[in-house]
Symmetry: C7
Subunit: 97 residues, 7 copies
Amino acid sequence: MAKRLLPTLNRVLIEKIVPPSKTSGGILLPEKLNKLNSGKVVAVGPGARDRDGKLIPVSVKEGDTVLLPEYGGATVNLGEKEYHLYRDDDILGTLHD
Amino acid sequence: MAKRLLPTLNRVLIEKIVPPSKTSGGILLPEKLNKLNSGKVVAVGPGARDRDGKLIPVSVKEGDTVLLPEYGGATVNLGEKEYHLYRDDDILGTLHD
Amino acid sequence: MAKRLLPTLNRVLIEKIVPPSKTSGGILLPEKLNKLNSGKVVAVGPGARDRDGKLIPVSVKEGDTVLLPEYGGATVNLGEKEYHLYRDDDILGTLHD
Amino acid sequence: MAKRLLPTLNRVLIEKIVPPSKTSGGILLPEKLNKLNSGKVVAVGPGARDRDGKLIPVSVKEGDTVLLPEYGGATVNLGEKEYHLYRDDDILGTLHD
Amino acid sequence: MAKRLLPTLNRVLIEKIVPPSKTSGGILLPEKLNKLNSGKVVAVGPGARDRDGKLIPVSVKEGDTVLLPEYGGATVNLGEKEYHLYRDDDILGTLHD
Amino acid sequence: MAKRLLPTLNRVLIEKIVPPSKTSGGILLPEKLNKLNSGKVVAVGPGARDRDGKLIPVSVKEGDTVLLPEYGGATVNLGEKEYHLYRDDDILGTLHD
Amino acid sequence: MAKRLLPTLNRVLIEKIVPPSKTSGGILLPEKLNKLNSGKVVAVGPGARDRDGKLIPVSVKEGDTVLLPEYGGATVNLGEKEYHLYRDDDILGTLHD
């Protein structure tokens, strides 16, 4: 049975986006187009605390598509799915069409 | 005779959850499902102090099921049971059904 | 399909300027003149947060031509173009004619 | 002649508790039960100073039984007894029956 | 075509002073007299930001002759001239006749 | 001619106490009793400055007998005597009979 | 022509005192008496800035005789004389007869 994870502090739970290696028509895509390391935000923590104990809200929100750094992040297996935990400030940006 | 430990600062005393390797019906579970490194919060400290000496309360509470980092934590034997001490900010998140 | 990236915090998205190796008249330029590591600012984040959680605005803006450090920066491929992400305080200066 | 030590800052003077290796009836105890690294607080310093120069009181007090980290602490010989000095924040918790 | 560089933060653009190896009368100068690592300030940034986001002005100004540290600084080629970028606090002092 | 040293900041000038290796009656003392690394405070600095530039007074005073760490401290020869300089927060405690 | 150096921040310009190896009567002095690493303060900077941008004045002044650390300091040649630059907080104390 899959459990739900609520991240602590400024941690962000990410489901990585596996880029399609073929187009919908079956044509193989060149590797360069697949290289973007991105993911979907599944859950965010309440934020880190500043030096006065106040919460600094996380800069991304559930549902955002984000650009991830090449290294870092902790792998978490919930049920049969693999997720990754990143600190908010390790997320490089949000991706938009 | 078992002693009771009250953690200092933002330390959290954890009893690790040993995942069942078989279902209740005796079927062996695949290793992937067992890999979640989780524990039950047994006791929490009063919190770390911010730069003005005020206590920052710990973000988890007794009874919470938490996701733990792969490394870190200090092993503590109280009576015949093994516990682990983590800093509050090393706990990755809380787990819910 | 190319995606648009909105950088987080004080990150700056840069498109590097490839210096021409020949003049418009076809004369080869000496290598020394080509060595300036510069780029065009494509997008900037909202700024890093100071110790009170307030945003410190980024010191460069979209369209600026900037001098980049020799090392550092993360490569990002969006569509068929290569971009680079730098922290605002790693940018050495702005270039003007 | 034994001297008395008043620790500075947030230092805590500890007399380690040597666990009995036999019960009072003479039965050898298994090693696991002996492993708890604990001590008695003999003296505490006035506390460390925060960034405004105010004293942050030490979180343990004379007479407390405390759980100590596996490593660290400075050995001090006063008279014929061996003591250990720890920083307040290195003490893992207080032990209660 | 030479570009003009406006340094960011507390960066200072320096044109190094090459000490004459002969006097104006053609006499070779001993090496010891040449060893002073100095430069002319060409441009200064607006200053670094303190923890409240306020600018701390740079301590040297355009036209100052400054003593530079033996190591450090980034080389920048603008047009056909070589310049060096230093952080304000790496500059050792100002030189006066 | 011996000079007098006024330490800067939170530095403390110490004259180490060489423990007697014999009692006044000539009996050799066991080495364990000699091991205490202690000294007499000869002079103290005005204190370190906190982040607002205010002086934080040194916690020991001239004439105190102090317990010193096993390592650290700078040796200073004034006249024919050897002294040691320690930072106030490296002093482990004050010793009292 | 000798230049004058005004140190930046909390830097202090020092002319080292070379201890006489003989008395004025020509008697060789034992090495121990010569070992004191001291200097004369030639110029001081305006002070480092605290976190609010205010200047923290330097704790030594022109003309002071100071005790220097065994290592550190940058050598500066002005005219034919050798000087040394130290940070104010690296100076161990002031020496008085």
